[in-house]
Symmetry: C2
Subunit: 496 residues, 2 copies
């Protein structure tokens, strides 16, 4: 959930100062049109880690827009008046009416996180999530535009931020004992809030995670999302399609930095190192699948990647190490007639391995949020709901002791061009390159954006995406084999 | 949830035999059109209590329709093959493709109920519900038409059914030890399944509860629902509005019997009895609200009823007993501009009482599923989702130690006519009768249907609807006062 927000985004002051006037004007225009049309209330929820600029953002929005049409509320511990009513009363009474913007600073997300940190909630978190999802769905069905912004800092950034505030006598008062406590529990906070954010990111009210360290980046990004969401809604006249006008998932980062272009694609291995490590890890993998406890688990590896990134070659290095009786490779191309007559996850469910088996998907269920999204094979509403559906699907696999590994094989545009040309020139590789590959290449940016969204929204603590720097095929293959061996070792050890 | 299915519905053999041929033909026609259009899969889930005709219905559907286009599955304990995959695998692999009908006899609802009966699930039920709701929403978003039929028997009916089967040597084998166990746990089963059904009745996949005792009634009702749902879907060509084509909530009962016309409206009280009981219960109510623990709770009474059923008079008999400083009466008419700019529940949230207060709603949030439904002030999708939203709302009230009482005041058509005429003839009552009252009267049947749905779908163990036979005003007023006193006594006693 936080991958894209730990990259160290920054915007130069020059760029920032140039962008602001236009953005402010656009925000004001959108705000006045909203007030005039009165077609929906806008509810902006602001959450995130301490020191990531939550309060600053609320102030900024009031400064950049007309504060008379904004209702900002900060929710702390319940007042006496609030405590005498059901929990949600305080939020209901502050809901913005149609045509206005409400900014909720702290919300129904605060309690579930804090309660869980202190161990009060435990297994009841699911029940909280169910209530939140129903509540937000009702608001959305009633026409409320919900924009949920989460401001994030990496642990290092948060430490730096708190230290800086403490050093300065003018800002020292802002650092509370609670802030320091929270820093101590950073990992728990990240895990629980990541889980909560993923589970409450619905097609109609998705979370937008914004890196909060650099104020320029934070301000531009937050306002751009808000502007985009309001404009999209204003352009939707029919109430029937209004729900589809949810906030965009990810706009291209204001500073152009993303998870993929932050990868160090120069990583490589010498031929000798490659050969010795290949032997080592293939041997290890083979032994692991012969382990007596292997019969109690199953393995699924999911391969996605840029065209010509080397999925096929990497998969062959795995299967070379496996007994042919225990594995199957499932290439995913266009669905068959039978598959088209079913929900899109059906073709994957039917291929789930039984105990002691190893299934390799060459392209996967993520096609829904990659090719289907980019090529428009399904509606925006369809691929936006797919993240939650896929997370649900994978949770069921994990709960059943299936080891699931997800690999994204990445190469840059130049490397792809070189490989495409090579394929065209070598007779026995020519079948691997089609007109479609060239067409996809033209949509490079759209695909990159879809991949970043996918990684942010489906990387979990238990099933993270492994990003594989694949400009050097040898490096890529070893990284993959090593990742599989380590995951298997860990799983087999955990079985009593 | 089961109110309408415990009335003792029956259909005469003559009527049944006459209705069947036409119904079968219509079912076949719908089935063939579905197969030809291939626009969606139809999934029929069959659940319910033992002996209520679940298996018989599955057989019947195969007999009345073309079995080549039906795929019937009964799910028992997991086979070895199934146990080696995640729980839902068995259901995924049996999903019907577009154009076909799948009948699931036992489904993902079986385990949560049985586990809860044996005490294994407890507080985790919410988590189960969350998973079921997401799963069915995904299916529905993917275009599957989900028809969920629940066959119900009252406890007495179930006893009779099992005894009858045991008496006959030819059917004795059908009664298992499990059936007898289940009869023993009837109440728990009813509570847990009622809760589960309410929580998983969504706008797109509502549960239909059918009384299962009389086979004629059961067969006609089940087939009529299925026919209706398939035809409605076939008539919906656009994928965007397809979701709205969910099964109807309640068709008029095949035998004309419903919760309201089953009431004994001849109930009455003599003037003397009325006066002495009025004094008794008003005194009691007054004392209860002066109880020291009353400051720890709040009370909400919700009044709905047929026009001219006597809500106003009944409310006055309550307020006469209360200290003016602790109660407020909230009459609900057309919403104000401010209220219209908010989600429909907002106007009720803002009126929630603080501790030690007593709020009387004269008409309520149920307007959404009564007048707004019947008059078309909101879409079908809107009022269908309202049942779940209202249940969520009321659950929050209960969780906050609010005593909530819901009264439906009922009179018959003749009594209403008499009262309307009387109002027109008495000068000081003339303001109480408007053109609108006469217009509503013409929609008597539509309103009755909406009331029956409302009672079925929002009566819970903790907050049942109290149906008040109101042809005699004296009887009605005493029943209401008595109900309030008893609920308050019980609540105050439960506080430590």
């Amino acid at each position: 959930m936080f991958e894209s927000a730990e990259l160290g985004h920054t915007i130069d002051d020059d760029v920032y100062k140039k962008a602001v006037p236009e953005l402010r004007e656009a925000l004001l225009d959108a705000q006045y049109e909203l007030a005039q049309q009165k077609n929906c209330p806008v509810l902006i929820l602001i959450g995130g880690v301490d020191g990531a600029g939550k309060g600053e953002t609320a102030n900024l929005l009031n400064e950049w827009m007309d504060p008379r049409l904004i209702h900002t509320c900060a929710f702390g511990p319940a007042t006496e008046d609030e405590a005498e009513r059901p929990n949600m009363w305080r939020y209901w009474r502050e809901l913005p009416p149609k045509g206005k913007i409400g900014i909720f600073f702290g919300s129904w997300y605060t309690a579930p996180i804090l309660e869980n940190l202190s161990g009060k909630l435990g297994k009841k978190l699911d029940s909280r999530i169910k209530d939140i999802v129903s509540f937000e769905r009702m608001l959305s069905d009633e026409g409320v535009l919900i924009i949920k912004l989460w401001f994030h800092l990496s642990k290092k950034q948060q430490k730096t931020r708190i230290a800086a505030l403490e050093e300065n006598p003018k800002t020292r008062w802002r650092v509370t004992e609670q802030d320091k406590q929270h820093l101590k529990h950073y990992e728990e906070f990240r895990t629980i809030s990541g889980h909560l954010l993923r589970e409450t990111s619905t097609a109609n009210a998705p979370w937008i995670v914004i890196e909060g360290f650099d104020p320029n980046y934070r301000n531009l990004t937050a306002s751009q999302y808000i502007l985009d969401a309001i404009k999209k809604r204003l352009d939707t006249k029919s109430p029937a399609t209004r729900k589809a006008a949810a906030p965009a998932l990810t706009l291209a980062a204001a500073d152009g930095l993303n998870i993929l272009n932050a990868l160090d694609l120069s990583k490589s291995l010498s031929k000798d190192d490659y050969e010795s490590q290949l032997e080592e890890y293939q041997g290890k993998l083979n032994l692991l699948t012969r382990h007596p406890k292997f019969k109690q688990i199953s393995v699924i590896t999911a391969f996605e990647g840029v065209d010509a990134a080397g999925k096929g070659g990497a998969i062959r290095r795995i299967t070379q190490a496996l007994d042919a009786r225990i594995y199957s490779t499932i290439p995913i191309a266009a669905p068959s007639d039978e598959e088209k007559a079913q929900p899109y996850l059906w073709r994957f469910w039917r291929q789930l391995p039984r105990r002691g088996r190893f299934t390799i998907f060459d392209r996967t269920w993520y096609g829904r949020v990659l090719v289907e999204r980019v090529e428009g094979f399904c509606s925006e509403q369809d691929w936006m709901r797919a993240y939650a559906e896929i997370n649900d699907f994978e949770e069921q696999l994990l709960a059943h002791d299936i080891v699931l590994l997800k690999f994204w094989l990445h190469i840059d545009e130049n490397e792809q061009l070189t490989r495409f040309k090579a394929r065209e020139n070598i007779a026995f590789k020519r079948y691997k390159i089609t007109e479609e590959d060239w067409r996809n290449r033209k949509k490079w940016d759209a695909y990159q954006q879809a991949v970043c969204d996918m990684i942010d929204r489906t990387s979990t603590e238990q099933v993270p995406w492994t990003l594989v720097e694949s400009n050097d095929k040898k490096y890529a293959r070893i990284k993959i084999l090593k990742t599989i061996c380590e995951a298997l070792e860990q799983k087999l050890e955990s079985i009593k």
